[in-house]
């Protein structure tokens, strides 16, 4: 009797669950996987990424080459392991042939490694901005139409040295790959221009107490380059101001964002005039950008202005759809035609023309900004200038650039 029931249980468990949902997509729909952080502390960013991607889908009225677009979502918690697990589910269980994502740097590298094991699936980046996703050991089927963290810094080092006249700068940044990439991008230019960086502070992730770090910054630096996530920047600035510091700041791409600019208190005076750079700018008057903002705002729960993540996912999803359109939505050949179409794709985004280099990484415009006080008294990032068509080696010849080595804590160095 007992045995019998166990048999039934065992059979139920092992057959009922095994039927994979291999329901092949009908001919008139095309499945696209969308991988972003829908759980964990980055949920808000992942959801804005989704809004960006859906803006691109809405622009095509939900169809591409006469086929209906079906978006299958995959969720990670921003850890590389979970990103790969989600990608595997999308590819191996849900059967997507085209996947857009992921969101953060280390996830990108992990998904690129996974992409190598799935040559018949086409992967298009979300917003992950680590350099080595495409620069070293690239995967043939991983495309990035958004730029990397070093590219985002294009023009900033030169601007700080020449226009601002900073000769000695200390850096404070979080201790992982994305800030390394940003510091690298800034210093590559700044050191080349003749500047010096006598001290680099790498702050453990999640640390909120910067006071000891601030005390260790050498006196007599002209400015401090800060690459901390928006809210941590507020922490840093508050504590810096409390400890009586006065040196001006230079911001990383996610440092001087709206969280920081709208914060209350006496930070305003410290922040005014802070230069920064990134793939978007608040006061971009280009009609294409304004149209994009309007389209983005139609998405449910949209922010007043699209974040960097909405922008990145939009650009990558748009490129995916354009590529699919070119090949008539046909990926039955293992996506070979699609990848050829993507490689040669060049199109106009809300932030200018985007094309790919030989490593399938974007060449695009970068925006140099500076914090100014708006007419209503609020701070905003004013567009200073557009650095046109920045490539992954920041305009430095490739072999010379590769000689600089992979980004890490100590590279580059110019004390």
């Amino acid at each position: 009797m007992r045995m019998h029931r166990r048999t039934v249980l065992a059979l139920a468990v092992f057959t009922g669950l095994t039927a994979p949902s291999m329901a092949l997509a009908a001919d008139d729909t095309i499945k696209i996987g969308l991988l972003a952080t829908f759980e964990g502390p980055f949920t808000v960013l992942g959801e804005d990424g989704e809004r960006g991607a859906m803006t691109a889908v809405a622009e095509m009225n939900g169809t591409v080459a006469g086929k209906k677009i079906e978006i299958v979502k995959g969720s990670s918690d921003a850890s590389p392991d979970s990103a790969v697990r989600a990608a595997r589910k999308l590819v191996e269980q849900d059967g997507v042939k085209v996947l857009v994502g992921p969101l953060s740097g280390d996830e990108g590298i992990a998904v690129k490694d996974y992409a190598k094991t799935q040559p018949n699936v086409t992967f298009i980046n979300g917003t992950s901005a680590a350099q080595d996703t495409t620069l070293r050991n690239p995967a043939e089927n991983f495309f990035r139409f958004s730029t990397d963290g070093a590219q985002w810094m294009a023009g900033l080092g030169t601007y700080a040295f020449k226009d601002k006249g900073y000769k000695k700068v200390a850096t404070v940044a979080e201790d992982y790959s994305f800030p390394y990439t940003q510091v690298f991008g800034f210093m590559a230019e700044f050191c080349k221009a003749g500047g010096h960086v006598p001290s680099k502070s790498w702050v453990p992730i999640g640390n909120k107490d910067f006071s000891s770090v601030i005390a260790a910054i050498p006196e007599g630096v002209d400015a401090i380059y800060v690459a901390l996530g928006g809210a941590d920047a507020v922490n840093f600035l508050t504590q810096y101001q409390q400890s009586g510091g006065t040196a001006p700041l230079i911001g990383g791409s996610i440092t001087v964002d709206q969280t920081v600019l709208t914060s209350k208190g006496k930070l305003k005076d410290v922040l005014k005039g802070t230069p920064s750079a990134g793939p978007t700018a608040d006061t971009n008057d280009a009609p294409a950008w304004k149209a994009f903002v309007e389209a983005y705002k139609k998405q449910p729960g949209a922010f007043p202005s699209p974040s960097l993540f909405a922008h990145g996912y939009y650009v990558d999803m748009k490129a995916t759809l354009l590529g699919l359109d070119k090949v008539g939505g046909d990926v039955s050949d293992g996506g070979k035609k699609l990848r050829e179409a993507l490689s040669s794709l060049s199109f106009d985004t809300p932030t200018g023309k985007v094309s790919l280099d030989k490593n399938r990484n974007a060449i695009a415009d970068i925006f140099l900004t500076e914090v100014t006080e708006g007419s209503d008294g609020n701070l905003l990032n004013k567009l200073v200038k557009v650095v046109p068509q920045v490539n992954q080696t920041l305009g430095i010849p490739e072999d010379e650039f590769m000689k600089l080595g992979a980004v890490n804590r100590d590279n580059p160095s110019c004390p």
């Binding site: 009797m1 007992r2 045995m3 029931r5 166990r6 048999t7 065992a10 059979l11 468990v13 092992f14 057959t15 669950l17 095994t18 039927a19 994979p20 291999m22 829908f38 759980e39 949920t43 979502k73 995959g74 969720s75 918690d77 850890s79 590389p80 392991d81 979970s82 790969v84 697990r85 595997r88 589910k89 191996e92 269980q93 280390d106 590298i109 992990a110 490694d113 996974y114 050991n137 201790d175 992982y176 790959s177 453990p204 992730i205 992979a406 890490n408 804590r409």
Partner: protein, 341 residues
């Protein structure tokens, strides 16, 4: 279970009977599973559940027989996973000594076992509920350290490009061989724990759990027995760590984070820590929930769901699903005996 022990003619039947009908059916089902399952279900559900089942098993061994609830099992697994990445090959351009698998694996498991014994030695110096605190502190400290140390752990990015080896003409990273590899090691660990629990050592350990003072008075070396249990648990967790790094192809601090540490506890508690099969059951339930939550309830509130399930289990049935089953079974049996209407 069987009374006919001394009948010489019935040796074979006896052996089968000793194994138990449940085991035979379960074993057959698991061996035949690849015939019906897709690759995804083989590795992402089957293999992954077996790996986390082994982790849960190593916790069950400590908690169920030794009364020591550890939150550092994923840390131990992480040590062997990192060891594989460091001693073998990785494509992160850091370390990677290129040892062959048959050398790297024993070393990795040994390192994990020794680390586990060390954690055990530190935590058995205090009693009872302290263990859970100390192991949680160790797990978290290791996570933060791995995140910031580049010389050994390669920091936040960890190691990538680690591949399961190919030997005996089989590529073990393919779905079916990998599933059987996981299954083989899981069955081995399961059998070892089941056998060990009935051995002298197992009995002594359980007696120490129930009354350490009396066992000490009887002349048993309580600390040595406990630390040895940690060593054994470390071997199982270390093997699971090797499988885990081959499964993911990578290892990073996120792999051994606090969330993962608590996941292992959840798996063991949901499944039940009275019998070694419990953790595997718990792992299957949790992995299925984790994988398909996004299709059913959305991924956002997944942790609330799993936390609630965990709370209900702890409140209603301290012995997990196994305990629940144990309670329902008599009712069902009575139902079946009752004459029809």
């Amino acid at each position: 279970m069987s009374l006919a022990i001394s009948t010489p003619g019935a040796t074979q039947q006896n052996w089968l009977e000793k194994l138990g009908a449940g085991h035979i059916i379960l074993g057959t089902a698991l061996v035949l599973y690849p015939l019906v399952a897709s690759d995804f279900f083989l590795t992402q559900i089957g293999g992954y559940s077996l790996i986390f089942g082994m982790l849960g098993l190593s916790l069950m061994l400590l908690a169920g027989y030794g009364g020591m609830v550890s939150l550092a099992q994923i840390t131990v697994a992480g040590i062997s996973a990192y060891a594989i990445a460091i001693l073998g090959n990785n494509n992160s351009n850091v370390l990677g000594f290129g040892w062959p698998w048959w050398l790297a694996v024993p070393f990795a498991v040994l390192a994990a076992a020794l680390a586990s014994a060390l954690i055990g030695w530190i935590s058995v110096r205090t009693e009872g509920i302290y263990t859970i605190m100390i192991t949680l502190a160790i797990a978290t400290a290791t996570y933060y350290f791995a995140q910031q140390n580049y010389a050994i752990f390669n920091g936040h990015s960890g190691y990538a490009g680690i591949r399961a080896p190919a030997f005996w003409g089989i590529s073990w990273r393919d779905a079916k061989p990998f599933y059987y590899l996981c299954l083989g090691l899981a069955v081995l660990s399961y059998a070892a724990v089941l056998y060990g629990s009935r051995s002298t050592f197992g009995m002594t350990l359980q007696a120490i759990r129930d009354n350490p003072r009396r066992m000490r008075a009887l002349g048993y070396h309580v600390t040595a027995h406990k630390v040895f249990a940690w060593l054994l648990a470390g071997v199982i967790a270390g093997l699971a760590g090797v499988l885990l790094v081959w499964f993911n192809g990578r290892v990073s601090p996120g792999t051994i984070g606090v969330d993962a540490a608590i996941d292992v506890l959840i798996i063991a508690v949901i499944g039940g820590i009275r019998h070694p099969i419990g953790p595997f059951l718990g792992a299957l339930v949790v992995v299925l929930m984790q994988t398909f939550a996004i299709d059913i309830v959305g991924a956002e509130r997944f942790n609330t769901l799993i936390g609630m399930v965990f709370l209900v289990i702890v409140f209603v049935s301290p012995d997990g699903i196994l305990g629940l089953w144990g309670r329902i079974k008599p009712h069902l049996a009575q139902e079946a005996l009752r004459p029809g209407p």
